[in-house]
Symmetry: C4
Subunit: 207 residues, 4 copies
């Protein structure tokens, strides 16, 4: 039995915390589909027209799915490098999950009020706060020695990417009030520019 400070979670606990986190993210990502509602045809409307009108909602579903998937990969990568956990990290993890679980709502809001900058700003803000909570978990884990020695360098080098992600999402909030399309382009960029960003992060940290 390893020695354990009171209130500190051990390696074994990480498994159950990861499982709970995966559960919440799996439910949240699947609830996104509830935003896609089977259309009720107005008189004279064809199903083809109704489904055509649903395409932006499908796009919003796919984008939100990709973004939650991206967050899942980020979270998974961080957890693989930890050897411990403590209550403040648990609190940060719950704050992160509360924001992820909000995404089905924010996505639906943005999908219903596509033309309103405010709706896009809410979605951008939710994404930005989630990225910020994740970045703070990363920072906290580094500061308090929860990152395994062989992964410290890699984790430190990942910091600019995490901060960059949060910055793009948070900057999409004012951008949404200029034009919703700019905010959308910024979100999509975080999915598509993943590999270039990673390379940039490595160059920055080795400079």
């Amino acid at each position: 039995m390893e020695a354990k400070e009171p209130g500190t979670f051990s390696r074994r606990d990480l498994g159950r915390i990861g499982a709970f986190t995966d559960g919440v993210m799996a439910v949240a990502i699947t609830l996104l589909v509830l935003n896609l509602e089977v259309p009720t045809l107005a008189s004279g409307e064809s199903l083809a027209d109704a489904l055509f009108d649903l395409l932006p909602s499908l796009g919003a579903y796919l984008l939100a799915f990709a973004l939650v998937g991206r967050f899942w990969v980020l979270h998974h990568n961080l957890f693989e490098r930890l050897h411990g956990f403590d209550p403040p990290l648990m609190t940060l993890n719950l704050a992160f999950l509360a924001l992820i679980a909000l995404l089905p709502f924010s996505t639906d809001l943005y999908d219903v009020y596509t033309d309103e900058g405010l709706a896009a700003a809410v979605l951008g803000g939710t994404l930005g706060l989630a990225a910020l909570a994740h970045w703070e978990m990363n920072q906290y884990a580094l500061r308090h020695g929860f990152v395994r020695a062989e992964h410290r360098a890699e984790t430190e080098s990942g910091r600019p990417i995490g901060l960059g992600l949060a910055a793009v999402f948070l900057l999409s909030v004012p951008a949404a009030f200029l034009t919703v399309h700019l905010a959308e382009a910024m979100w999509i960029s975080t999915v598509l520019l993943r590999y270039p960003l990673r390379r940039l992060g490595r160059r920055t940290s080795s400079a």
Copy 2:
């Protein structure tokens, strides 16, 4: 193959019971978001106004998320200290889960009828019964020797906290009929006063 009394769950079983419990809690915590509905604008109403009116619902969501998260941590801490399980403990665990899974309903009720003491009393009662079920699991595990030897002292010392939590939630039921705000303050205190309460628990048990 370890010897096993009929009807007794072994250490290995604990993994699957924990996984099922995590699954139920992960679904319940994520379903809380269904209470947040995308507003339909009344004529002349702006989206900004509608979202502003949604802020109390967002507050209820965040509070309920924090409370279920708190229960998850409590449950996780208890399970980490067990080396076995039996059918009555399983029944207590299911009763606990049935109350946790009720929280999306109770939270929604409280959110729709914010001014009614009765609605807040229902939420406080659900939380109180869940805390009581958890406390009884703790007691039962201690009485029947399911707590691993090296964790007995720690688990015994946690009893006043568990009972205190149940007491605060149950006392919020009559408090809700005086004023809903008092009940709310009591719930929030269980999230914010976590660390002071823990310290108090330790002092009490070592006295």
Copy 3:
């Protein structure tokens, strides 16, 4: 690497099959709460009256929760005794899960049409078919040697209980057409008479 017939699942696979099964049951048991809807008050109606009218729905929720919990325990007990799995057993498992996942619908139907024998018959039938699918999994696993040697006796002795459970649920179908209350009493009995039934099962098998 252990030798493995084509199309046969090994011990390790059992973990992931169990995890998927737990996931489906955890979602199904938590979706039961969606049947409880926050009441909209008719003019002049008090919240207290509306909640009082909701009590039968709460009862249906608790009963269905207990029944799915009972099935989870049954399923868990069977899986703990297996050392392998094959495609027909997987198919039986999926049929069992399809019936469990139907329970939120059947429970809601029964709750909305409480006075109709047919609605209770649908719930009784769903429960009966689920119990039958589980019993057939048990039989199949015994016949094809998937039960670990040290658990064969125990598993064989459990057969009358499994069959008894299926019989009670299936007999509740005709009973529901006589009076819904008889069907309800039969369902409740399967939760409450668990320990006496188990003892009976042991006596029968050792006779």
Copy 4:
């Protein structure tokens, strides 16, 4: 600590990726039941009539459940044979999951517009793209050496089945515009012809 290329997931990671995948599939398969709505009786309509009218929806539920179950088995079989994972495989996995999570919507659409070829075509297309994404995961894993040596032959021999499955689903799209019943027959065949197809796959690969 095993050496690990940057951006490559190890064996241990596979567990958590599998758990997340199982979570999404378990939620998606259970959400299928939300398509079955408790009927509201028109005046003069009996519950028996209303439930009789619900039978096609029950059929759609069972078919979709069987198809998601089939995909789960396919996915599980592939994952059991891998010893590693990389970001593009993760992206393919997320694309696969996004299509699986769409199935509750596609199934509901097909169930509401049973007579419209277009609705059946949408369901067939969703199934076809999911099968294609799965097939591409299989191909990618083989090409990049993520399949464990002892499973290469088996995995290669499974390719015609995977491609055949995708072909049947994709061909059901044009078939749906001829007659919906042909498309339905094709979907059902993928569930029922599982064993004959597997045998065919083995003969093809050993020829």
